[in-house]
């Protein structure tokens, strides 16, 4: 049972982290493409640019769809007891996602790919607007589901331990969900705008598709800067405050904060030592943790040692590193985009090889930051499936053996390796082919 539980966790973690490599780009691109369509009246180049990014969008969207279907199945296949207890509640949220957003997305994406020549410029604007709506709506339903698991509201527990939905609007308007949605979508915009900037830098350095190179760089840098800021303040900050209030154990584990202190410092670097329960080689900014979480320099921040051990997250070092990677990268993104914006405003960007190279090479890092962020959220919720109410080991499918689960996990490893090769090769082809200037929609 213990062994099977590990494999169930690994499989869900792996398949959902892999899946999210695609939506984080497509949700962001959906907004960028829609904005480009809106601008195309003033700047005709934006039409061709939107068409180019729609090709990349469609490719990655397809991969997002195929890797997303296993997630809906796995609630039932791997987490049967969790589904049985919570299905009437979170099943509705996932059902809404299917009915309200998946149909919308698939219908209009099909129209866009196969019926491009049947659409006028105005219709293109509408269709890309609906796609944007569909993808972001989809994101909201998923976040509401996750937010309920992090911070359950609007429910009652019956005698059999079944969660009953008592207040749908409380679930849909869960305050946890707002901050989480804003933070996640900003993260998605960072991935997408960094990709746009990277392609622009790639064309610029290659001296190819020059008008598009400049367009992509401008759009990518401006949006990238804006969302790198929003990612930290206010969205990240609000989440930190919520965490300090509702999940103080998680906060302590993320920060590697073992002893309760007044005026607690924040660890920038260091390695959690789980035998001695200390942080090795710490680099600490004094009093900062107290200030960030409670807005008072001398506030008391409880350490891990003051919480019951069975409520600690079970992967504290990994959680600590994921959180620090996310924060570290977020700070780096802001710095890089700040400099790029400055150079771009001084019209010196095209001569600055260093910044162009950096922009071109940096695009994988938002993926890492987003993945690390989700791992922080999910590892931080442990040892609970529904925070404070249902433990992870009470949720797995009782009769699926570790052997069966390992078989499917290995299958996913193999299949997703093939998927990776395909998506890299095909995206490469799209990029080499580049935007086609003559793509102008029907009048």
């Amino acid at each position: 049972m213990e062994e099977a539980l590990w494999i169930h966790r690994l499989q869900f973690g792996f398949t959902s982290a892999y899946h999210y490599l695609f939506p984080q780009l497509t949700m962001g691109l959906a907004m960028i493409i829609f904005l480009m369509r809106l601008r195309s009246g003033k700047n005709p180049l934006c039409h061709a640019a939107a068409d180019f990014w729609t090709r990349i969008f469609a490719l990655h969207f397809a991969f997002g769809v195929v890797t997303g279907i296993p997630l809906e199945f796995q609630f039932g296949t791997n987490w049967a007891l969790f589904s049985e207890k919570t299905g009437g509640l979170i099943g509705q949220l996932l059902g809404m996602e299917g009915m309200f957003s998946f149909f919308l997305e698939s219908t209009f994406l099909g129209l866009l790919i196969y019926g491009r020549d049947r659409l006028s410029a105005v219709a293109l604007r509408w269709v890309s607007g609906l796609l944007f709506l569909g993808t972001w709506l989809s994101g909201y339903f998923i976040i509401v589901t996750n937010a309920w698991m992090q911070h359950p509201v609007g429910y009652a527990l019956d005698a059999n331990g079944q969660f009953i939905l008592t207040d749908l609007s409380a679930v849909m308007l869960n305050p946890w969900a707002f901050a989480q949605f804003a933070h996640t979508m900003c993260g998605s915009m960072v991935t997408a705008s960094f990709a746009v900037a990277a392609v622009g830098a790639f064309y610029q350095l290659n001296q190819k598709h020059s008008p598009f190179a400049r367009l992509f760089l401008t759009w990518g840098i401006r949006l990238g800067f804006l969302f790198s800021v929003l990612q930290i303040v206010p969205t990240g900050d609000i989440q930190g405050a919520q965490l300090a209030h509702h999940q103080p154990i998680t906060l302590a584990a993320m920060e590697g904060h073992f002893d309760t202190e007044e005026g607690a410092g924040i660890a920038i670097l260091g390695q959690p030592d789980m035998d001695k329960l200390t942080l090795d080689n710490p680099l600490v900014v004094p009093k900062m943790l107290s200030f960030l979480t409670h807005k008072r320099w001398n506030a008391e921040v409880k350490g891990l040692k003051d919480f019951p051990r069975e409520d600690w997250p079970d992967q504290i070092p990994l959680l600590y590193y994921c959180y620090h990677i996310m924060v570290g990268l977020g700070t780096f993104f802001l710095t890089l985009m700040g400099f790029s914006l400055l150079w771009s405003l001084r019209k010196k960007l095209e001569q600055s090889k260093v910044i162009l190279w950096a922009l071109m090479l940096v695009f994988p890092f938002p993926y890492i930051a987003n993945t690390a962020g989700w791992m922080t959220a999910e590892l931080g919720r442990q040892p609970w499936l529904v925070y404070g109410l249902m433990r992870t080991h009470d949720g797995a499918s009782p009769q699926v053996s570790s052997g069966n689960a390992l078989f499917s996990l290995l299958g996913f490893f193999g299949l997703y390796t093939v998927l990776t090769l395909l998506v890299v090769a095909l995206t490469g082809r799209c990029l080499v082919k580049g935007p086609q200037a003559q793509e102008v929609p029907n009048a």
Binding site: G110, Y114, L168
Partner: protein, 336 residues
């Protein structure tokens, strides 16, 4: 009462899924027999290009609805069919890749490979869904906790006590499903493909329908032998089946759109018969005339009532999308 209503609403989603996605599996199944060259294969695939993804969403919607309306049924059946569902997922992934990636590169070998993946995955999906339906009709071996886990296969004797997901009965239903989808796909191609291909599809369809007609009778008998609930408690179910077969006969000389419509009705009739025969149970137990009752599988009634408020308008919206897209791609779809 409310549970039964939701059981039929779930039924609507499953039927929509089989009727809609059924024709695009069918296109895949018949592609190797009907199409002699790359151009024809592409032309056949072009007829489902704008639709297949939306069609597959009916499965997601049905899964989501099953999840919240009957959480226990979702939990029991999805974990009980663990391995076959994982295989189904992988085949669904490969098929989606074939449809979306095949046309991305004009390289003959690349296209040849994805056409092959498309044809084989489409056939396997139809087979697996037929097998799944077979398992639900035959029933599963429930243990004291109300859960079960079926081995992939044991032996293929249809009345063996050691059941498997794949056994004599379910495999026969799987093959029958492939045949039905092949017919459905041909009816679609006759309606939507380039004139020459459509003509060929129409000729093949008439022959397939003749076989289907014979199979309808044989399968009905086999099903009754395995699961006497069929044609037992719900006599009128057999009438529906008979009507389905009769329409199949009439269809042979009708116009393409009438033939396609009747192919849809035939599938709906068969599935409706299955849904009716299950009542009042949601999951049948193998080798007995009973199972787990719907009310023991359903979510509390307050939740079921609440869900009606958003679910029904949502379904209306979805129908709107489908009407819109089918109107936008009205008539034959020619490949470039």
């Amino acid at each position: 009462m409310l549970e039964t209503l939701w059981f039929f609403l779930l039924g609507i989603l499953f039927m929509a899924f089989v009727v809609m996605d059924g024709f695009d599996w069918g296109v895949g199944i018949v592609q190797p027999f009907l199409c002699r060259n790359a151009h024809d294969r592409q032309a056949a695939q072009a007829t489902i290009g704008p639709f297949w993804d939306g069609n597959e969403v009916w499965l997601i919607a049905a899964g989501g609805t099953l999840y919240f309306a009957f959480p226990k049924l979702y939990a029991i059946s999805f974990s009980g069919f663990y391995l076959p569902l994982m295989l189904l997922l992988w085949i669904l992934i490969l098929r989606a890749l074939a449809l979306e990636l095949g046309h991305q590169w004009e390289q003959p070998l690349w296209q040849r490979f994805w056409h092959f993946v498309f044809a084989s995955s489409s056939s396997l999906i139809a087979l697996v869904f037929g097998v799944a339906l077979g398992n639900l009709i035959r029933g599963v071996p429930l243990d004291t906790t109300g859960y079960f886990l079926l081995p992939f296969w044991t032996n293929f004797s249809p009345r063996s006590s050691e059941l498997g997901v794949f056994d004599g009965f379910t495999l026969v239903l799987g093959v029958y499903a492939v045949l039905l989808c092949a017919g459905h796909g041909l009816a679609w191609l006759e309606l939507k493909a380039e004139p020459e291909l459509a003509h060929k599809a129409g000729q093949l369809l008439t022959r397939i329908w003749a076989i289907v007609l014979v199979c309808d009778g044989l399968i009905a008998g086999f099903t009754y032998w395995i699961q006497p609930r069929f044609f037992g408690a719900n006599q009128w179910v057999s009438v529906l089946l008979g009507l389905g077969a009769l329409t199949a006969w009439v269809v042979m000389r009708w116009l393409p759109h009438q033939r396609f419509l009747l192919s849809c009705l035939h599938l709906v009739g068969l599935l409706l018969a299955c849904f009716c025969a299950m009542l009042p149970f949601g999951l049948l137990e193998a080798g007995s005339a009973s199972g787990i009752r719907l009310q023991d599988l359903a979510a509390p009634s307050g939740q079921l009532k609440l869900a009606l408020f958003w679910w029904v308008p949502a379904l209306g919206l979805v129908c709107g999308y489908f009407v819109f897209v089918h109107k936008k791609f009205w008539g034959r779809i020619l490949s470039h």
